[in-house]
């Protein structure tokens, strides 16, 4: 038995990880989420804005991070739409507009069919330049965004009338998978104009530890990975009575597989250490 674990073929580990994720998905294992303070801060930042406020949503992620970030993107857009906020959607990542299209299709067009493009929401699309884009639009949108993704001139879009820069937004929401993302928004937008620009964000698990230092002054709230998404989702579901719509439970649903996968990881680390110490005791390894 010891020999088997000592020379454990990694394919057994792969199989165990596959089952640890697949079984909870199949049996729909999920748990109740207790939102932490950070999730509450994100929720309150959107909830406490007066109805019809201007919100800039930057979709800075791609399909690789969709598993972690799409649930929070869905909840963000639902929350803003439910509050009737005007949504200005943009992206610093080349495939960001496609991720935004997906959310617009699933949330706005399905659940808020009365919302009109150009009046309630607009997709400004992607611009190259990463933080260079932020540096320009914090003082002037039209220098870069002369049109939206459909080619409609900025001044012909009703909800863009009177909007000059990011400073005219009541809140910036960033959904980030890396560079360029939340860190750049904090450095080039919020830090440069701390009295004008407020921001909350949702990010991947690997980014979250790097963003904690910006809370609470530069970043009012932060949703870290699928756990953060599930907590925020729980708040939105409770407030807007979305218990029956599975689309708004994606984050919570993914916590089941995450739990079993984490337990497997802990088991593997302990098993690896037990083997290590037995080997050490027998003098097999130094």
């Amino acid at each position: 038995m010891f020999e088997f674990f000592q020379k454990l073929d990694r394919r057994w580990i792969f199989l165990a990880m596959f089952l640890a994720v697949a079984i909870p998905i199949i049996i729909q294992l999920d748990f109740e989420e207790t939102p932490t303070d950070l999730a509450h801060r994100v929720f309150d930042a959107i909830e406490n804005l007066p109805d019809g406020s201007r919100v800039l949503l930057s979709f800075d992620f791609d399909p690789a991070s969709e598993g972690e970030l799409k649930p929070m993107a869905t909840s963000f857009v639902y929350h803003c739409a439910a509050k009737n906020h005007k949504m200005y959607i943009m992206a610093l990542w080349p495939v960001g507009p496609q991720m935004a299209d997906d959310t617009i299709e699933n949330v706005i067009k399905e659940d808020f069919p009365h919302m009109q493009y150009g009046h309630n929401y607009v997709n400004l699309g992607y611009k190259s330049g990463y933080e260079g884009v932020i540096k320009v639009i914090v003082t002037n949108f039209t220098e870069l965004y002369s049109t939206d993704t459909r080619g409609t001139p900025w001044n012909a879009i009703p909800m863009c009338t009177g909007v000059e820069s990011v400073q005219d937004m009541d809140l910036v929401i960033n959904i980030s998978a890396g560079y360029a993302g939340t860190k750049e928004w904090v450095q080039y937008a919020v830090t440069a104009y701390p009295d004008q620009i407020r921001m909350v964000a949702g990010c991947t698990g690997v980014q979250a530890p790097l963003l904690y230092p910006y809370i609470p002054h530069q970043l009012e709230g932060l949703l870290g990975a699928i756990k953060g998404a599930a907590e925020y989702e729980a708040l939105v579901v409770e407030k807007y009575k979305l218990e029956d719509d599975p689309k708004y439970h994606e984050g919570i649903r993914r916590m089941g597989p995450q739990l079993v996968a984490h337990l497997l990881m802990i088991f593997l680390i302990i098993l690896g250490n037990v083997i290590f110490f037995i080997e050490k005791k027998r003098g097999g390894r130094r």
């Binding site: 990694r10 165990a16 990880m17 932490t36 950070l38 791609d62 002037n140 739990l259 984490h262």
Partner: protein
């Protein structure tokens, strides 16, 4: 000359951005410099595409190991480029309902949308999700309590792994409210907001000072390594 002009442009661009940050009247200069940067970033896509073609065509012509993958790369690149630029099969737009392929290249039903939805999306998601398997295997083989620092790291990893799931409630949910600070989910938050934040702030300040010093050396022309090793 080949080195003097880039040095001059770098110095001008850098100092304009610094001045624009501190002197409100010169803010417009900074905007112009930032727009130039965005234009250059867009041009970099063309250079990137050209470079990709050059490298892979050379690999194919030399019949280097794995040249078949280069063929696939070039076919995928050209197919996506054609589908996007040509707006192939995109539905008619609302402004021009009688014109075929007049809609956006991203519209549902277009060739580009199909490629994104059924090729790019599943491929990138698969690549990323494979990390779970490799991380599990690496944790089993490499995460050893060899010394005190490693034990601290292991302990923290266990707390975070459990604290970010419902297991936290099973393990410490029974603790009374007066001991709430010891509940795993709260210990996780404390580790992230206190220990992690303190460490990260120190690292960030260190990096910022290093970046400022290096930037100054670049702007003043002391550090010219970014220009490459060619003779000027």
């Amino acid at each position: 000359m080949k080195r003097t002009i880039p040095l001059f442009l770098t110095a001008i661009g850098g100092f304009v951005l610094i001045i624009a940050y501190y002197i409100p009247h010169t803010q417009g200069w900074g905007e112009v410099a930032a727009i130039w940067f965005d234009i250059l970033a867009a041009i970099a896509f063309l250079l990137g595409g050209g470079n990709l073609m050059k490298i892979h065509l050379k690999k194919i012509s030399d019949h280097k190991a794995g040249w078949a993958y280069s063929v696939i790369t070039i076919i995928a690149f050209l197919a996506t480029l054609t589908a996007g630029l040509g707006k192939v099969f995109s539905p008619p737009s609302m402004q021009y309902p009688d014109m075929a392929w007049s809609g956006s290249y991203r519209e549902i039903g277009s060739a580009f949308w199909w490629l994104f939805e059924y090729a790019f999306k599943p491929l990138t998601a698969t690549m990323f999700s494979m990390l779970a398997f490799y991380v599990a295997s690496a944790a089993f083989r490499a995460f050893r309590a060899k010394n005190f620092e490693a034990i601290l790291l292991l302990g923290t990893a266990f707390i975070i792994l459990l604290g970010r799931t419902a297991a936290a409630n099973w393990v410490t949910g029974w603790l009374p409210e007066s001991w709430a600070g010891l509940k795993l989910e709260n210990v996780t938050v404390t580790i992230m907001q206190v220990f992690n934040t303190a460490g990260n702030r120190a690292i960030m300040i260190g990096i910022a000072l290093g970046v400022a010093a290096t930037s100054l050396k670049v702007l003043l022309g002391v550090d010219r390594s970014y220009l490459g090793g060619g003779k000027g």
